[in-house]
C-alpha cells in the first residue's frame, strides 16, 4: 500500500530569475489523494507543468518507472458553436469504442442506452432521434455541455490513456455545488475502485479536509505537508494565506 510513486527533492523553478517554486520536497504514495492548496501565484499550476515535464526545473522529480499520467487542465470554455463532437474529442486519444464506453461509465454517465453508444444511430432512426431532441451524448458538440458534463468528459479523456495518476487543476471552478460534490466523489471512487493516485489543486479548504488523504500547502515553498487534520490548523492557514498578504505588502513598497 505504501508504495511511493513520486519523489520530489530540492525542486526549484524560476522564471527570469524569480523563484516560483523554492526548494520543494515531498513524496506521493500509490492511492494517495493529494490536495495542493495555496494563494494565487503560489506556484501550484507551475508545479503541475513541471510534473508533466513541460517546464525546465532544477532538482529532482522522480516518477516511478513506466508511470502513466492523466492530466485534466484548468477549466476552459469551449465555445458553443465549436464544431467538435464529444465522440471526435475522445477519439483524439486513439482508442477503441468500447474503451470510450468504459471510461464514460467510470465518470458516471448513465449507460442504459449503451447500445446507442456502440452502434451510432443512422438513417431514419437518426432523424427520429434528432427530431425528438434526444441526441446522444457522443454526438453532442463539446460546447453545449454544462460545466459539470464537460469536466466529466475531460476526466474521461484523461482516463483513456489508462493512467496511474490523475493531475487535476482546480476540478470544480465554475461548477455548481451539487456538481462539485459529484466530481469529488468521482475522484474518490476512481481511487477506491480503480487504484488511481490523484493529485489536485484546490482553493476550497473544506474540500481538502473532506477528500484529501494528504495536503501540500504551497506558497513558493512548502508550508505544510501531511494528513489535513494533522497538519492544517488555524496557524498553518494563517501562515499560508497570511504570507500572501505579506508579499503583497512587500511588493507594494516598490511602487
Amino acid at each position: 500500500m505504501d508504495e511511493s510513486i513520486l519523489k520530489i527533492e530540492d525542486l526549484t523553478i524560476s522564471f527570469d530569475e524569480n523563484k516560483v517554486i523554492d526548494n520543494l520536497e515531498f513524496s506521493v504514495h500509490k492511492k494517495d489523494i493529494i490536495a495542493i492548496i495555496g494563494p494565487n501565484g503560489a506556484g501550484k499550476t507551475v508545479l503541475f507543468r513541471a510534473l508533466l515535464g513541460l517546464l525546465p526545473y532544477s532538482g529532482k522529480i522522480n516518477w516511478r518507472n513506466d508511470i502513466k499520467i492523466g492530466y485534466v487542465p484548468q477549466r476552459f470554455v469551449v465555445e458553443r458553436d465549436m464544431p467538435l463532437s464529444v465522440e471526435e474529442f475522445l477519439n483524439y486519444k486513439k482508442t477503441k469504442k468500447d474503451q470510450i464506453i468504459n471510461v464514460l461509465k467510470m465518470v458516471g454517465f448513465h449507460v442504459h442506452d449503451e447500445h446507442l453508444l456502440a452502434h451510432p444511430i443512422r438513417g431514419k432512426d437518426a432523424l427520429l432521434a434528432a427530431s425528438s431532441g434526444t441526441r446522444h451524448l457522443l454526438h453532442q458538440p463539446l460546447g453545449v455541455l454544462s460545466g459539470g458534463e464537460l469536466q466529466k468528459i475531460l476526466i474521461a479523456f484523461a482516463l483513456l490513456g489508462n493512467p496511474d495518476v490523475l493531475l487535476f487543476d482546480e476540478p470544480t471552478t465554475g461548477i455548481d455545488l451539487g456538481g462539485e460534490e459529484t466530481i469529488y466523489n468521482l475522484l474518490k471512487k476512481l481511487r477506491d475502485q480503480h487504484g488511481l493516485t490523484i493529485i489536485f489543486i484546490s482553493h476550497d479548504i473544506h474540500v481538502v479536509y473532506q477528500y484529501a488523504s494528504r495536503v501540500l500547502c504551497l506558497n513558493k515553498e512548502k508550508i505544510c505537508f501531511g494528513p489535513p487534520r494533522d497538519v492544517l490548523g488555524a496557524e498553518e492557514l494563517k501562515k499560508l494565506y497570511g504570507t500572501e498578504v505579506g508579499i503583497y505588502e512587500h511588493s507594494g513598497h516598490h511602487h
Binding site: Y71, D81, P83, L84, L142
Partner: protein, 260 residues
C-alpha cells in the same frame, strides 16, 4: 460554344478548384482559431514578392511564397515573445508590405492584376503547381489537423498530450503561405483573405462535428471558385470578385439553415 473547348479556361477551372478547396480546408482551422483577419494580413505580404517577380521576370508564385513564408516566420516568432504588441506589429507588417508592393510594381495594370488576380492567363505550369501544392497541403494538413484542433480548445491539454504545438503552428503557417501564394493568381491579394474564411464560416453554420465541418468547408471552396470563374467568363466580369461574392452567397444561404 467555344467556351467548352477553351483550353485556358479548363486549366483555370482546375486551378481555381484546387485553390478553393485548399483555402477552404485551411480556412476551417483559421476560423476555429479566430485568425480570420490574420489571413487577410498575410495575403497582402505577397505583394512585394509579386513586385520583385515582375521586375526581374521571376515566377510570381515562388516569389510570393518566399515573402509569405518570411512573414509567417516573423508572426510565429512574435507569438512567443508576449512582451511585444503582436497585433500592432502584424499591422505594421501589413502596411509595409502594401507600400513596398505598390512601389515595386511598375504599372497600374500589373498592380491591378496582383491585387485582383488574373486567372485568364493560367498556363499548364501554373495548373500543375496548383495540383502539386494542393496535394502537399492536404496531406500535411490532415496530419496536423487533430493537434491544431486540440490546441484551439486548450493549449495545455494539447501539449500535455504530446502535441508539438509550436512546431505544428509553424507548419500550419507555411501551408497557409502556400495556399495564399497559389490563390494570388486566382482572386488576387486583396480578396485572398476572403477566399480563406468564407467557405469555413459557411460550413460552420451547418456543422456540429469536425469531420463534417472540414468536409463542407473544402467542398464549398471546391465548388464556388470554379463556378465563380465560369460565371465571370460568361458575363465578361473580373473573376476574383465574382468568386468571393458566390462564396458570400453560400454563406448567406447557410444562415437560413443554421443549426442552433
Amino acid at each position: 460554344m467555344a467556351l467548352i473547348f477553351d483550353y485556358n479556361l479548363v486549366l483555370g477551372l482546375i486551378t481555381a478548384g484546387m485553390v478553393g478547396a485548399t483555402a477552404g480546408y485551411l480556412g476551417s482551422i483559421m476560423v476555429l482559431r479566430r485568425l480570420a483577419l490574420a489571413g487577410d494580413v498575410l495575403s497582402h505580404v505577397a505583394l512585394p514578392g509579386i513586385g520583385i517577380a515582375l521586375l526581374y521576370n521571376l515566377n510570381p508564385f515562388l516569389m510570393a511564397f518566399v515573402f509569405l513564408f518570411a512573414a509567417s516566420w516573423i508572426i510565429w516568432s512574435l507569438e512567443k515573445k508576449t512582451a511585444l504588441p503582436t497585433d500592432a506589429l502584424i499591422g505594421i507588417l501589413f502596411v509595409a508590405s502594401l507600400a513596398i508592393g505598390v512601389m515595386l510594381i511598375p504599372n497600374l495594370e500589373e498592380l491591378g492584376e496582383a491585387l485582383l488576380g488574373d486567372i485568364s492567363e493560367i498556363g499548364l505550369f501554373d495548373a500543375f503547381l496548383a495540383i502539386l501544392f494542393s496535394s502537399i497541403v492536404f496531406i500535411t494538413g490532415s496530419k496536423i489537423y487533430k493537434g491544431l484542433v486540440l490546441g484551439t480548445i486548450s493549449e495545455d491539454l494539447a501539449i500535455a498530450n504530446g502535441v508539438k504545438l509550436r512546431k505544428i503552428n509553424l507548419l500550419f503557417l507555411v501551408l497557409v503561405s502556400i495556399v495564399v501564394a497559389l490563390g494570388v493568381k486566382v482572386v488576387g491579394t486583396l480578396l485572398m483573405g476572403a477566399l480563406i474564411i468564407v467557405s469555413a464560416t459557411a460550413a460552420k453554420n451547418l456543422s456540429r462535428n469536425i469531420s463534417r465541418y472540414a468536409f463542407l468547408s473544402t467542398l464549398f471552396g471546391l465548388i464556388t471558385a470554379p463556378s465563380g470563374l465560369l460565371l465571370a467568363k460568361i458575363y465578361e466580369l473580373n473573376p476574383g470578385p465574382v468568386i468571393i461574392l458566390i462564396g458570400v452567397g453560400v454563406f448567406l444561404l447557410t444562415l437560413v439553415f443554421r443549426r442552433s
